[in-house]
């Protein structure tokens, strides 16, 4: 599914070189739910951008569904992102003054899905995240948790290979954070969705089945978590 071999990313910062990633190797199978953990500066954001095809490694190999990504050009990467990756960000990154439905339809627009089909699929995705009633609300009319649900609906609307979330609970209070983690767990459990969460909070990370720890651009541990915390039954009072 995902196979990374000796991933290295070097940034040129003026005179000096910064090794944000230094030979990371791992494999993530279809249907896994994985947390990538590490303090800030550990290289987890860089790793996330390479997994998400936002960037290419300086050296090493990275393949997604058997396709070697480092050989792709910019538009090739954009296509892979559109088809295989669903992003969720800490700050939601919804388009302002744009309805939830339009926000969710955005990836389908770029993928060239026709108007009617687009709306049908976006509504279905909003249903799945429990926002079937709020399709016409703009982000500023929604709570933080609801906004993140819209963002998650946007991430899954294309039925991506990987749902990739960067600190998805970082901007939410703990109760809402739990609800969001529950949503991820549900998507994982019910649809066999591969979920990769990038975060620094060890407690939140224990909601996953496998935790990869990064430090100074290297993988320092990669262990399974046989008894993940279950975020519990969904609540509708957000």
């Amino acid at each position: 599914m995902i196979h990374a071999e000796g991933l290295t990313k070097v940034y040129q910062m003026g005179e000096s070189e910064v090794r944000a990633l230094d030979g990371a190797s791992f494999t993530i199978e279809k249907g896994e739910m994985v947390a990538i953990m590490g303090p800030s500066g550990s290289g987890k954001s860089t790793l996330m951008s390479i997994i998400g095809c936002l960037d290419v490694p300086s050296s090493g190999q990275y393949s997604l569904d058997g396709v070697s990504v480092e050989s792709l050009d910019e538009s090739g990467l954009a296509e892979v992102r559109g088809r295989k990756i669903g992003f969720v960000f800490q700050q939601f990154n919804l388009l302002a003054r744009t309805s939830a439905l339009d926000n969710v339809m955005l990836p389908l627009t770029y993928a060239g899905v026709s108007g009617r089909e687009r709306e049908k699929r976006a509504r279905a995705a909003l249903e799945r995240v429990g926002l079937g009633e709020r399709t016409h609300h703009a982000p500023n009319e929604l709570s933080g948790g609801q906004q993140q649900r819209v963002a998650i609906a946007r991430a899954i609307v294309n039925e991506p290979t990987i749902l990739l979330a960067d600190e998805p609970t970082g901007a939410l209070d703990s109760k809402t954070g739990v609800e969001i983690m529950d949503l991820f767990q549900r998507l994982h459990r019910e649809n066999g969705q591969t979920v990769i969460l990038v975060m620094h909070d060890a407690h939140v990370a224990r909601h996953t089945e496998r935790i990869i720890r990064l430090s100074d651009g290297r993988i320092v541990s990669d262990e399974s978590n046989p008894n993940p915390i279950q975020a519990g039954a969904p609540r509708n009072d957000d």
Binding site: S49, G52, L54, D55, E74, S75, A78, E79, R81, G82, R83, I85, F87, F89, N93, L95, A96, R97, T98, L106, P107, T109, Y110, A111, G112, R154, N158
Partner: protein, 412 residues
């Protein structure tokens, strides 16, 4: 991704910043409005000049002294004042036979005219009877100068409309005696006004040309002891024969002036069409010149749009990052921002066209100039606005498209 989708995105982005959008397109609005209004007014001016020239008769050849206009570094070197003589008129009168309605000489000079306490300078034109038909004058009162007047060198004068009013006020000038340069002339006729058209007789006083030579013009009308004329007018009966008659006249005059084939002619034969094209080229130059100034304001407007779009790209860096993250390609981002700029400039163009047409109509209604609004001018202004949008939108759109998705997402 559909084109209409892009327009929708663009309009949403523009609505999000209404005030800024309005201010941004103001430059284009003003530029386009100026271009449209200027062209309409310029066309109107050209049309009115054209019609005034054509009212002078399209079958008229005017022969006047002077070398053909000479371009290039040699211009102005061989310039000596040339003369045309009464004998040239006689030569043409004898030599030109076919297609001729009339040939008349004209000598004119400015003198003080006086009646009672009123006195001022007026253009005194020495003419023959046929002059009236050649120039299509209409007599309002009395009669025009006659051949008999010329034969007897009668001291009679025919007044243009303006002169008659200025000199006599509400009095009928017929039969009154006025003095031209101290010599008494009796008014026998007044011409109808031809308005402010080219060659209008309104400001002129017409006298028999023979009377003029003998009693009024004196030495100044002579050169080498020969009577000179200012113009010889030839009225041609068929407009298709204009070129033939012109060539014949040129041949006769060249021979009479003993010009070598290599020498330039010392006279000009101009038809109304020539005069028209000369004037048209002048008005055209003027219109282009004014249009260029308006074009500069369009250019400035374009730079304003580019500036705002660059700001917009910076402000929306995160949005661009997100769009790229969810699968937008470089070209899709480029198209989106380009369409946004083009939408702005086209919107400005449309408002500008409406405003420009409004200004042109205001000119027409106020009676200053009857402006002529052409589809050409409107289309040109529209496509110029469009081109400005594409040209000045390209750079900001390329900036947006080339943003690195990761860097853009992280931008704060």
């Amino acid at each position: 991704m559909l084109f209409s989708e892009n327009i929708r995105i663009a309009l949403r982005a523009l609505r999000a910043n209404k005030m800024r959008s309005v201010l941004t397109i103001l430059g284009i609005v003003i530029g386009v409005a100026t271009v449209v209004a200027l062209l309409a007014i310029g066309n109107g001016a050209t049309a009115s000049i054209t019609s005034s020239i054509q009212s002078g008769g399209s079958n008229l050849l005017t022969i006047s002294p002077g070398r053909q206009q000479q371009m290039g570094p040699m211009a102005g070197q061989s310039r000596q004042i040339s003369h045309m003589y009464y004998s040239d008129y006689q030569l043409l009168e004898r030599g030109l036979k076919t297609n001729i309605t009339a040939i008349v000489p004209v000598y004119q000079s400015s003198y003080t005219i006086k009646f009672g306490d009123e006195s001022f300078n007026a253009n005194i034109v020495g003419v023959m009877e046929a002059h009236k038909d050649v120039r299509s004058f209409t007599v309002a009162e009395g009669r025009f100068v006659s051949d008999g007047d010329n034969k007897s060198q009668a001291l009679v004068a025919v007044l243009g409309d303006t002169v008659a009013h200025d000199l006599f006020g509400d009095l009928s000038p017929l039969g009154k005696t006025l003095s031209i340069n101290g010599i008494k002339f009796q008014v026998v006729g007044v011409l109808e006004s031809k308005g402010a058209s080219l060659g209008s007789p309104d400001d002129n006083v017409f006298v028999p040309i023979e009377t003029g030579y003998k009693k009024l013009f004196g030495e100044t009308a002579l050169y080498n002891n020969k009577k000179t004329v200012n113009n010889i007018l030839i009225s041609v009966d068929d407009t298709n024969a204009m070129d033939t008659v012109s060539a014949q006249a040129t041949y006769l005059l060249r021979r009479a002036h003993e010009l070598k084939p290599s020498e330039e002619a010392d006279f000009n034969v101009m038809s109304q069409a020539d005069t028209l094209s000369t004037l048209n080229s002048v008005t055209q130059t003027l219109t282009i010149f004014l249009g260029a100034i308006a074009g500069i304001s369009l250019l400035v407007g374009g730079i304003g749009i580019m500036n705002i779009m660059l700001v917009s790209v910076t402000e929306r860096t995160k949005e661009i990052g997100l769009r790229k993250a969810v699968g937008a390609t470089r070209n899709q981002i480029l198209t989106q921002f380009l369409i946004e700029t083009v939408t702005l400039s086209v919107l400005g163009g449309i408002i500008g066209i409406l405003l420009g047409v409004g200004i042109a109509l205001a000119f027409s209604v106020s009676g200053l100039i009857n402006s002529v609004i052409t589809a050409d001018a409107i289309l040109m202004a529209f496509f110029f606005a469009l081109a400005i949008g594409v040209f000045f939108g390209l750079y900001p759109a390329m900036r947006a498209a080339s943003l690195h998705p990761m860097v853009a997402l992280r931008y704060e």
